[in-house]
Symmetry: C2
């Protein structure tokens, strides 16, 4: 339901939230190591996020990836949606089709509460707020 790629992307974005700014861009090679994801792999993911304006980047010397103030207002669900396909996300965790509150499949009531909560939580907090938790010692890195 949530791919490995998404998880890597989340790691990278949180890393950027904590360590980058418009004047302090970070190159892929300096992101890959601390978050423990292969460089070529995370590069591809970051490029995709940049293309969708979820993170920012500039090329050339002194270039790199960073989060603008606007970017920091984004949420985790945005990241996951960008990497995984929309369909996968909306699918029931057990991918049952034609299944809803009115005409539930036998598993609907088993699955749907957790899905509802997950979706809500994934978009409630901003990237910025999540990074604050780390600064305040309420949460810990590395992931």
């Amino acid at each position: 339901m949530i791919s490995n790629s998404s998880k890597y992307a989340i790691k990278a974005v949180l890393y950027l939230a904590l360590h980058s700014s418009e004047d302090d861009k970070i190159m892929v090679k300096d992101i890959a190591e601390p978050i423990n994801v292969p460089q070529a792999y995370i590069a591809k993911l970051l490029q995709e996020l940049a293309k969708r304006n979820l993170i920012s980047s500039t090329r050339g010397p002194k270039g790199g990836f960073y989060l603008s103030e606007e970017d920091k207002k984004g949420n985790i669900l945005n990241i996951v949606s960008a990497i995984d396909s929309e369909k996968k996300l909306n699918a029931c965790i057990l991918s049952l089709e034609h299944c809803n509150e009115n005409k539930p499949c036998p598993l609907h009531h088993i699955i749907s509460p957790s899905k509802t909560i997950l979706m809500k939580n994934l978009k409630t907090k901003t990237i910025y707020e999540l990074s604050l938790d780390v600064k305040n010692g309420k949460a810990f890195l590395p992931l």
Copy 2:
């Protein structure tokens, strides 16, 4: 987190719960079609479940798969565990390591409530109870 194979297995088991008994075994070819899963594929999955005693089977003429009374007391989590690896199941939905209540990663509180609920729900109801929901019109098939 929950593979396609698991979902197919669940479908098949629910089908067996509704249509089979010790005196009424069902051959793979008669399961594959109604649940809309390739025969050779579901066969492999059912064999795995049978090996782990989550469902029952006998070979030869008049043979087939079925659920014993004991089998019907099982839950969905058993099925999923048998097909997907233990590690995958226990992993955080975002597969963050070394992450717990005391030392949560930034996403822990976003993820863990939904995971807790899912795990609980997956083992609360028995296969039998789920099949009753269908008989009573509280839930609907096919999935």
